[in-house]
Amino acid sequence: MKALLSHGEKALSLLERLALILSGTALLIMGAIVTASVIGRQVANAPIPDDLIMVGLLMVCVIALPLAYIESQRGHIAVTVTTNWLPPRALALLQAFGSLIMLIFFGAIGYMVAQRLPREIAQGTYYDGTLEILTWPMKVVFAVGIILFAIRLLVSIGQHLHTAITGRLHGRPADSHPEEV
């Protein structure tokens, strides 16, 4: 069972890193599209068609794909000053609660976006523009990002509950904290 969990954790970390690479690449492409479009417009009065739509859609990669990795690094910002005085077990319980709330909120967003996917794929809906870019591919990316995030949140909840029950930190350095504000 332990070996299975360890393999699962490794696979999840690998997927999170892959998502991070895709996200970084998308950011680079966003900059390239904007620059090429500005140069095209100034030099030849020919901006890249649908540049605004493409850049907007690439934002989905930049925002949704790293969410799981951020959670794995305890990077989502929370107010910690009000609870720092609590013993580790109580803190872990609160952290599990925080992750659960994140899971419900982002899970609901992901579910609502994913729910519309089959219809959009079947209808082949696209953005109004020269290139008629399909709406669904980036929604798939968004859903994948949220699913990955949801899995990581489940893992976090499990780890926090484990700490709350046993009093021992699970696979993390003892000084790891969420991003403090």
């Binding site: 850049v55 859609l57 925002i63 969410l67 107010v79 967003i109």
Partner: protein, 446 residues
């Protein structure tokens, strides 16, 4: 149930969730979603009918966040973040600091002044205070400590200098303010230039006075700097000047929009770094990784905030507060004083983005009600948020500096170092509040 009551209860619930360590993104989002559900399910004078509420609530959750993040105007945020990280990795930040240090070395507290000037220069190409403090802290603090500067002055000057990151354009906070308050981002950027420069000047005055009153806190460096070396260091700053001119000149020269400026700026930094041989593959990867990490973290909060803003509008809470203020015949100055105190208080505990998203739906209608300029108000809010970055118990910039200096400087010492600068902040804030033309003169020339 009365939507107003739902709004008030939800506001309280948000604060409770935040205090319970629930991440800001989820605390804002979940209370807003539940609040919207209750408003639709429990209309005033009717029984609780949840079937009326599922559709509008889920529709808002399903459409709002996705449309929000695919909006072109917000693509500015990750691209400006990338620009700052690329500039740091390329060593452009070090260039500004080094030039400032060599030129200001002879002045009392010259090395600390150089740190603040370096922060000001780096602010011109990065939009984040934390990034500014982190970048300059790594370079300047070890050097100040090496020259025998007091720990309080060394750490405090960089922590406060870092706050310029969000005041001097480009600025992520101004972009978010512009988007949520529906104000021109170009106007906000240009409005902050004079207040930003005044802040920088005030910090330099504090350092000068500090060094004059307590010379042991800032011993003059025992080094002879040849004139040629100083000019050479200044010459090396051309890249950063060029990038600033490209970004700001491009926006106000009408070549591109502020949103496009971020993309062009990021790409120009990348191109310049590669051309000068100062960016390797690993450095670009590091910059990209940091940029997407920060962007995603910010947008997770913004997604929650977006739903929260819609919810507050639905409750009519902001309208009710405005009406109450009108009926109570409270003077504008009193209201402004309360708003200032509110932001200062929240700044002690919350991060700037969370505060913006939590408060703007409430404060903007009030400020608009008095016929005050939202551009000016934007500058005031960002200045207040910047002060919040260095005030105890939770000063984000202070924690950033602490993470850099480790055990060498105690947290209390950094806060102590900032105290003197906070006196200057009172005067600067007073000037921004009392003289709106400081913020509105430059936009009026556009």
């Amino acid at each position: 149930m009365d939507p107003l009551s739902v709004g008030i209860i939800a506001l309280g619930a948000t604060l409770v969730l935040l205090a319970l360590r629930v991440p800001i993104a989820a605390a804002l989002g979940i209370t807003a979603a539940i609040g919207i559900f209750i408003i639709f399910a429990w209309r005033p004078g009717s029984a609780f009918t949840p079937e009326f509420a599922w559709r509008p609530t889920l529709s808002l959750i399903g459409n709002g966040p996705y449309s929000f993040i695919t909006g072109f105007s917000l693509s500015t945020v990750p691209l400006f973040i990338l620009m700052g990280h690329l500039a740091y990795e390329a060593g452009f930040t070090t260039d500004i600091y080094r030039a400032a240090r060599l030129w200001l070395a002879r002045l009392p507290g010259g090395v600390a002044m150089a740190s603040v000037v370096g922060c000001g220069g780096f602010s011109a190409i990065t939009g984040s205070s934390v990034a500014c403090a982190a970048a300059m802290g790594r370079i300047a603090i070890p050097e100040m400590l090496r020259f025998g500067y007091s720990k309080a002055l060394a750490s405090g000057s960089v922590a406060i200098g870092g706050t310029l990151g969000s005041l001097i354009p480009p600025s992520i906070l101004f972009i978010l303010f512009g988007v949520f308050a529906e104000q021109s981002i170009s106007a906000l950027f240009i409005a902050a230039i004079i207040p930003g420069l005044i802040s920088l000047g005030a910090y330099l005055v504090v350092i000068y006075c500090w060094a004059r009153l307590r010379p042991a806190a800032a011993p003059p460096p025992n080094e002879e700097i040849p004139r040629a070396e100083r000019w050479q260091a200044l010459g090396r700053c051309w890249a950063i000047v060029a990038l600033f001119v490209v970004v700001i000149g491009g926006i106000y020269g009408g070549v591109f929009t502020p949103t496009e400026a971020a993309g062009v700026g990021a790409f120009a930094t990348l191109a310049l770094g590669l051309l000068l041989g100062r960016l390797s593959f690993s450095k670009i990867v590091a910059a990209l990784k940091e940029s997407v990490f920060q962007s995603s973290m910010i947008f997770a909060i913004a997604i929650g905030g977006k739903i929260y803003v819609s919810f507050i509008a639905l409750t009519g809470l902001s309208g009710a507060i405005t009406e109450w203020i009108t009926q109570a015949d409270v003077s504008m100055f009193m209201v402004l004083a309360v708003i200032v105190l509110l932001y200062l208080l929240l700044g002690m505990f919350l991060d700037p983005i969370g505060i913006i998203l939590l408060t703007l739906p409430l404060t903007i209608p009030i400020v608009e009600g008095y016929g005050l300029s939202l551009i000016w108000f934007g500058v005031v809010v960002i200045k207040l948020l910047e002060i919040g970055l260095v005030t105890p118990p939770i000063g984000l910039n202070v924690f950033v500096i602490k993470s850099i200096v480790g055990d060498k400087v105690r947290l209390e010492t950094i806060f102590l170092g900032i105290a003197a600068f906070l006196i200057a902040e009172v005067f600067v804030l007073g000037a921004i509040l009392g003289l709106p033309d400081l913020s509105l003169w430059l936009p009026s020339l556009l």
